[in-house]
């Protein structure tokens, strides 16, 4: 009993699984667990990264509620709502992509990855149009900001617009990074890298993509729907 040895985790590792096992892990399960925990931890850092801006938003919305509410008149809710729908669809296709990878359905996986990229691109194009509108309407702080309809809010409304550009801009950068990751996944999938034995990268990028979508789910009401219209 004294020398009872705890078993080293010797799950049977098939040769197919072993190709994907990195040298410092004992089992594919351990590798998957570590990758998943690492991704979730990274997403927590992302929550805090955006959290700094959400906290600032909360402070100023309390201080300058009137000014913040007045900005809703200038936000294009139709485009914002369309983008929300586009992103929700992209989350669905991403989830389908992960499922396809788990089932070793390569063609389907590539198809869903491309669909997700198309939705992501549509989002960014619409966002670019919105930014252009803001530029035309002189609503970019620091670039000849004009706020003639509510002169009493001319100063404080700039804070909301600054936050609007900072938060949606940071979100858009995350989308662009996501599109890069999806392109990489598509290439790797084309090279037959992913199958039921190894689909971790697809699942991890999926987590990231869903996170970026959820950020938008918070941004849309907070930035577009403050005041009644």
């Amino acid at each position: 009993m004294a020398d009872a040895v705890m078993p080293v985790a010797h799950e049977a590792i098939s040769p197919e699984e072993e190709i994907y096992l990195k040298h410092h892990f004992a089992t594919p399960g351990q590798q998957m667990d570590a990758d998943t925990l690492g991704m979730w931890t990274f997403l927590i850092t992302e929550v805090l990264f955006f959290g700094g801006m959400f906290a600032s938003y909360a402070v100023y919305r309390n201080l300058y509620y009137g000014a913040f509410a007045s900005t809703s008149k200038y936000m294009n809710v139709t485009l914002g709502a369309t983008n929300t729908a586009v992103l929700i669809c992209s989350s669905l296709t991403m989830a389908m992509a992960v499922r396809s990878a788990q089932l070793s359905k390569r063609a389907q996986l590539i198809r869903y990855l491309f669909l997700t990229m198309i939705f992501g691109t549509i989002f960014l194009v619409i966002k670019a149009f919105e930014y252009h509108d803001k530029y035309v309407e002189h609503l970019i702080p620091g670039l000849g900001f004009q706020y003639e309809q509510f002169p009493q809010y001319e100063h404080n409304a700039q804070i909301l617009f600054f936050l609007y550009f900072a938060m949606t801009g940071m979100h858009a950068i995350h989308m662009i990074v996501g599109l890069g990751l999806l392109s990489w996944l598509a290439i790797e999938a084309y090279r037959r890298k992913y199958n039921e034995n190894y689909f971790t990268p697809v699942e991890m990028v999926g987590l990231y993509w869903h996170f970026v979508d959820i950020v938008w789910i918070f941004l849309f009401p907070l930035l577009y729907l403050i005041g009644d219209r």
Binding site: A9, H24, I44, L48, G51, M53, P141, H155
Partner: protein, 543 residues
């Protein structure tokens, strides 16, 4: 039998280890071995330590005379760059990125950290961040203080704020990735039998540090980014012209930077726990309390940031709450000090160099910690806020605590990292010199602060000269004390006597393997049957 014995070569070939397994710059710059990355970090942070130290030498020279030597602008840049380099490029990565990077996989019985390539990426990010900061220094520096308070940093300063802020932003991500790697490694890479209750306390304290790095640093990153936007666009959320609140910057900044203070001490506490147990040849007293006090410090560190802002427009009730919470942090800190002391009680203490640093740490950290209580008290903080009392307080913790622990740890694990011993006499001598130089530098600053000398001023009234000269004299002794180990470590790397695998008779897992370790640390995944402090066996044998 005899014939076979003759065939064994007389001179044993040198063992393959992580240092000699590959050669050439590529084998270092593209390595994913946590031990090599730790060494890369060790060289980098040592270089930054001397850059930051050089700034300190210059402004201590300035303070020799009441009217100063440099212009006030130059002086502002010197102390700002000293703070920025020392905090973000030396203290934050000091123990985690070097000793912990080297030791955590070995201590938990793994071949490497969970994400070896991310580990290498973190070093490159650190180098990029350091490059931005050095660029700012070369171009003329930053004069905002290490805290970058808006609106001065965002609008009015004429110095290279943008480059330095970007440097900190980038270096922040290297810190995040280190913390993330530690958290995942501790959760998922432990060898069979390495339960949470058997984890070495060094691992516990770095795990707690990892939590702070992961939860705090992103907030600093976004704050620096918003500050940079504001500086470029001349408008932003900290800009009072449009109703922005500069105090919000302070809240966001200290939300990271107070927990960061614990990034800069918790790993040191872990080092002390290991050394004190080994050189007392006794099990650490109250293992569970020491382990959980690390976690308690990590949690509490996030709810005390307001004590930096007692005089910056905080409501009385907020101040009261933050004051109370700040006192709470003293409890787990004190638990550690009591437990280290109790570990030594009736222990078989040997006075090797690492242990000398432990004595230095316990004494100096206690002074630094207790003066922290003065500053956590609302009324006394109003009197001492922004004086040299504060400067002395945090240097007792950061330098008297963390740097002592870093040097202690470096001496303790140097034989494991390089396979060589350092000269015993010189190392004891330099430990003594550092202790004397440190106290001579910073103790007078407590008195200066108590007498009301404000920090961050280039000139001062003549009656403060004697204490300032004492402090500058101490700083030069301290500087020599830091140079001596630098020299003998370089010497020992090449010429030091072979250390053997376990020169201290230590019980931890890292001492049971070859020195220096092989690339994958263990030939076979170890099976852990006991904790790392089983010095009790010795007592059993001796009765």
């Amino acid at each position: 039998m005899a014939t076979i014995a003759h065939e064994i070569p007389q001179v044993a070939p040198e063992e393959v280890n992580y240092l000699n397994v590959e050669h050439g710059w590529k084998s270092w710059l593209l390595t994913t071995d946590h031990k090599r990355i730790a060494m890369l970090y060790l060289f980098s942070i040592t270089a930054m330590f001397f850059v930051g130290g050089l700034m300190a030498v210059l402004f201590r020279i300035n303070l020799l005379q009441p009217e100063g030597i440099f212009s006030p602008e130059t002086y502002n840049r010197l102390f700002s760059m000293h703070g920025i380099v020392m905090v973000f490029l030396f203290l934050v990565p000091s123990i985690p990125a070097t000793l912990a990077n080297f030791l955590i996989p070995i201590m938990v019985g793994a071949k490497d950290l969970a994400f070896p390539r991310v580990n290498l990426l973190s070093w490159y990010l650190y180098i990029a961040g350091a490059a931005f900061t050095l660029y700012a220094i070369v171009r003329g520096g930053v004069d905002t203080g290490w805290t970058f308070y808006a609106p001065y940093s965002s609008t009015y300063s004429n110095s290279y704020v943008l480059a330095a802020a970007m440097g900190i932003f980038i270096a922040g991500f290297s810190s995040i990735l280190t913390g993330l790697n530690f958290i995942v490694t501790v959760h998922k890479m432990r060898a069979p039998g390495m339960t949470w209750g058997r984890l070495p306390l060094f691992v516990w304290s770095n795990y707690a540090t990892g939590l702070i790095q992961v939860l705090g640093t992103p907030v600093l990153a976004i704050t620096m980014l918003l500050l940079a936007f504001e500086r470029i666009a001349h408008v932003g959320i900290f800009d009072p012209n449009i109703g922005g609140d500069p105090i919000l910057f302070q809240h966001l900044f200290w939300f990271y930077s107070h927990p960061a203070v614990y990034i800069m001490i918790l790993p040191g506490m872990g080092v002390i726990s290991e050394i004190v147990s080994c050189f007392s040849k006794k099990r650490i007293f109250g293992y569970n309390f020491v382990a959980f006090s690390s976690m308690a410090i990590a949690v509490l560190s996030f709810v005390v940031w307001g004590h930096h802002m007692f005089v910056t427009g905080e409501s009385v009730y907020t101040g009261l709450a933050f004051s109370f919470l700040s006192f709470m942090v003293a409890v787990p800190s004190a638990i550690k000090v009591f437990n280290w002391t109790a570990t030594m009680y009736k222990g078989s203490i040997s006075f090797d160099t690492p242990m000398l640093y432990v004595f230095g740490f316990i004494g100096l950290f206690t002074i630094g910690g207790l003066t922290g209580l003065h500053l956590a008290t609302l009324a006394t903080d109003v009197a001492t806020h922004g004086t040299y009392f504060v400067v002395a307080h945090f240097h007792y913790v950061m330098v008297g605590g963390m740097v002592m622990a870093f040097l202690g740890g470096l001496h303790f694990w140097w034989p494991k990292m390089t396979g060589r011993l350092y000269p015993e006499g010189w190392s004891k001598f330099s430990a003594l010199i550092i202790f004397i130089g440190f106290n001579l530098t910073f103790f007078p600053q407590f008195i200066l602060g108590y007498l009301g000398m404000p920090r961050r001023y280039q000139s001062y009234p003549p009656e403060f000269q004697a204490l300032n000269v004492l402090s500058s004299a101490g700083a030069s002794i301290l500087g020599i004390g830091y140079l001596i180990p630098m020299i003998y470590f370089v010497w020992s790397w090449k010429y030091g006597p072979k250390a053997g695998n376990n020169p201290w008779g230590a019980a931890g897992l890292e001492w049971q393997i070859q020195s220096p370790p092989t690339t994958f640390n263990f030939d076979e995944t170890p099976i852990v049957k006991e904790e790392a402090y089983n010095y009790g066996k010795l007592e059993e044998i001796l009765g």
